[in-house]
């Protein structure tokens, strides 16, 4: 789990790189970190290219992160979902809640241009 601010294109966008698994064991860590990241920005891109597995508690955490970002007038966009992770998102209907992009840079650009997906 890595966090960096991308301001190359203007607005501060928090890019979170998720790797490995997001599950019951480490989702609290993500939840807590997200609260501190919210101090810096409310616009997020979760780069999931290295994310191999997500379970329902991980999913719940990401959805709650989205809710918090929206509460702060921001957004949380997902990028580079592996087919397996996107199957879990579709299964649980979570895919309907997020804007999903094929890669992180497209997700970042969408904040600038305002395009949706």
């Amino acid at each position: 789990m890595k966090f960096q601010i991308d301001s190359s294109s203007g607005p501060h966008i928090g890019i979170v790189t998720l790797t490995g698994r997001v599950d019951a064991r480490n989702c609290t860590e993500l939840q807590n970190s997200f609260m501190s990241w919210l101090m810096d920005t409310s616009r997020f891109v979760f780069d999931c290219s290295g994310l191999e597995f997500i379970d329902s508690s991980g999913l719940g955490t990401i959805v709650s992160c989205l809710r918090k970002a929206l509460d702060h007038n921001g957004d949380l966009k997902l990028a580079a979902l592996s087919p397996k992770v996107s199957m879990v998102l579709e299964l649980t209907k979570a895919s309907k809640l997020f804007s999903i992009f094929p890669d992180a840079s497209e997700a970042v650009n969408s904040y600038v241009t305002g395009t949706k997906e």
Binding site: S57, P83, K84
Partner: protein, 466 residues
């Protein structure tokens, strides 16, 4: 006529990653094991004896088909080796093949036909040789025809390759929409485009959209949508507000609440996207899970009874003094009454009546009474009598209006404590049903003991949890 079915590991090996531990010949297509399609075809073609030969293990195929008695044919099995040519295969089975005409079904192929009646005469009259071929197999005839004078022109059947999970998925869909009737498993109710097995419970507010095939012992819960184009195996629960369409759900699968299964194959805890062949194994039993068949086995009934009776006895011994104390205390002040309540029993039509104490007092006395579960004390004796469990479903009261009967599901096992109480699940009937159903299929006697203790403690500290 006889039929020789030749099936090699190289043709079906791809199946093992999607259906681990299941022989491809018994993998179901529209709920009917693949081998039955082949046997049906062999029988329609006029065969009285069939031999299945493979370079892989046929153990589970044999366990399923046995000697072929069920189909009224003589069924045998044989072994070949990996690199055997088709010619060698024929030599190894020479005695089987010598006397008669032999139809050789070679490869992992599905045979499609529309006209059942014409097959027999076709195979009797057609001259020997290769009849049809596709990339994963072929159909051939050997031996002398009975009568070639009326040699028919066009083939009354066609072959479909089974070479990828996508081809398996599409075959299911095609059979479902285009040719259901010749292939449906006997015993299914046959409404057009809607074939259902025994003991299918479709809850109020659930929707079934044709075409569908649904197996035995299936529960489709409130608000769930099944179909169009869904194949649901046996022993499947589609829980509340979930959607299963353009999908295949294999036997013994639990599908959790509020899920979308669209264009997928679900089997136990795995989910497959047939198009990309990606497979996800869920670790979360509340999403997708395999159903524990062992828990339903007869052998466990006794063990379960013993576990439940033991814990009931323990609780009786623990609670008898407080119970008597309350009883005497409250009887003196005329606040003790009993009310006979009749509940639905676990078996259909059976019910049991328990004289439950109803106390009319407020405050701490009353709360202590329920906290110690003394309000259910007389029910423990029903556990000893084997009528109910110590943990299971909320017992449903038999009412004059007949209300409640619709709520009874096949896994309903009334008990003193409910799984919902153990899991501290919302007490609303619809909500608690999820947990109860989940454990009805997954519970083990050991788990039951732990959950009973949990339920007992949860009742002791109401409202202290989140």
């Amino acid at each position: 006529m006889k039929t020789l079915i030749v099936i090699r590991e190289k043709d079906y090996g791809w199946m093992s990653s999607f259906f681990p531990g299941v022989h491809p010949l018994v993998v179901p297509i529209c709920n009917k094991p693949f081998i039955e399609f082949l046997l049906d075809f062999a029988i329609l073609a006029g065969s009285t004896a069939v031999r299945i030969v493979s370079d892989g293990s046929l153990n589970s195929v044999e366990a399923y088909c046995e000697t072929g008695d069920r189909w009224g044919i003589e069924l045998g099995y044989g072994s070949i080796r990996q690199n055997d040519s088709d010619e060698t295969v024929m030599e190894k089975n020479r005695l089987f093949c010598s006397e008669d005409r032999v139809l050789v079904i070679n490869g992992f192929i599905f045979i499609r036909y529309a006209d059942k009646a014409g097959l027999k005469s076709f195979f009797a009259e057609t001259s020997s040789g290769s009849l049809s071929r596709c990339s994963s197999g072929s159909i051939e005839l050997t031996g002398i025809p009975e009568d070639v004078s009326a040699a028919p022109g066009t083939l009354p059947f066609s072959l479909t390759d089974l070479h990828s999970i996508d081809s398996y998925y599409r075959l299911n869909a095609e059979i479902l929409t285009d040719y259901p009737s010749p292939y449906v498993l006997p015993g299914y109710s046959n409404e057009p485009d809607c074939h259902m097995g025994r003991n299918v419970v479709i809850s109020k507010g659930a929707e079934v959209i044709k075409p569908v095939v649904i197996g035995n012992n299936v529960q489709i819960m409130k608000g769930a949508i099944v179909g169009p184009s869904a194949v649901i195996g046996s022993n499947v629960i589609v829980d509340r507000e979930s959607t299963v369409s353009r999908s295949i759900v294999l036997d013994n699968t639990y599908i959790g609440e509020q899920l979308d299964i669209v264009g997928r194959i679900a089997s136990g805890n795995t989910l497959v996207d047939p198009e990309t062949a990606f497979l996800v194994s869920m670790e979360d039993p509340h999403l997708l899970a395999g159903m524990n068949k062992a828990a339903r086995r007869q052998g466990l009934v006794l063990i379960r009874y013993l576990a439940h009776a033991a814990i009931a006895l323990l609780l009786i011994l623990l609670l008898i003094l407080p119970y008597l104390f309350f009883r005497i205390l409250l009887s003196v002040t005329a606040k003790w009454q009993t009310r006979a309540v009749t509940f639905y029993g676990a078996n259909e039509g059976k019910s049991f009546t328990s004289a439950l104490p109803s106390i009319s007092c407020g405050g701490t006395t009353c709360s202590l009474f329920t906290r110690l579960s003394l309000d259910r004390f007389p029910m423990f004796f029903h556990v000893l009598a084997g009528k109910i469990g110590v943990i299971g479903s909320f017992p449903l009261e038999v009412k004059e209006s007949g209300h409640g009967e619709t709520e009874i599901f096949s896994g309903y096992r009334p008990a003193v404590f409910s799984y919902a109480e153990a899991e501290d699940w919302p007490a609303d009937a619809g909500e608690s049903a999820i947990v109860e159903r989940y454990y009805a299929v997954h519970g083990t006697p050991a788990q039951d003991i732990v959950l009973t203790v949990k339920a007992f403690l949860n009742r002791m500290h109401p409202g202290e949890q989140e």
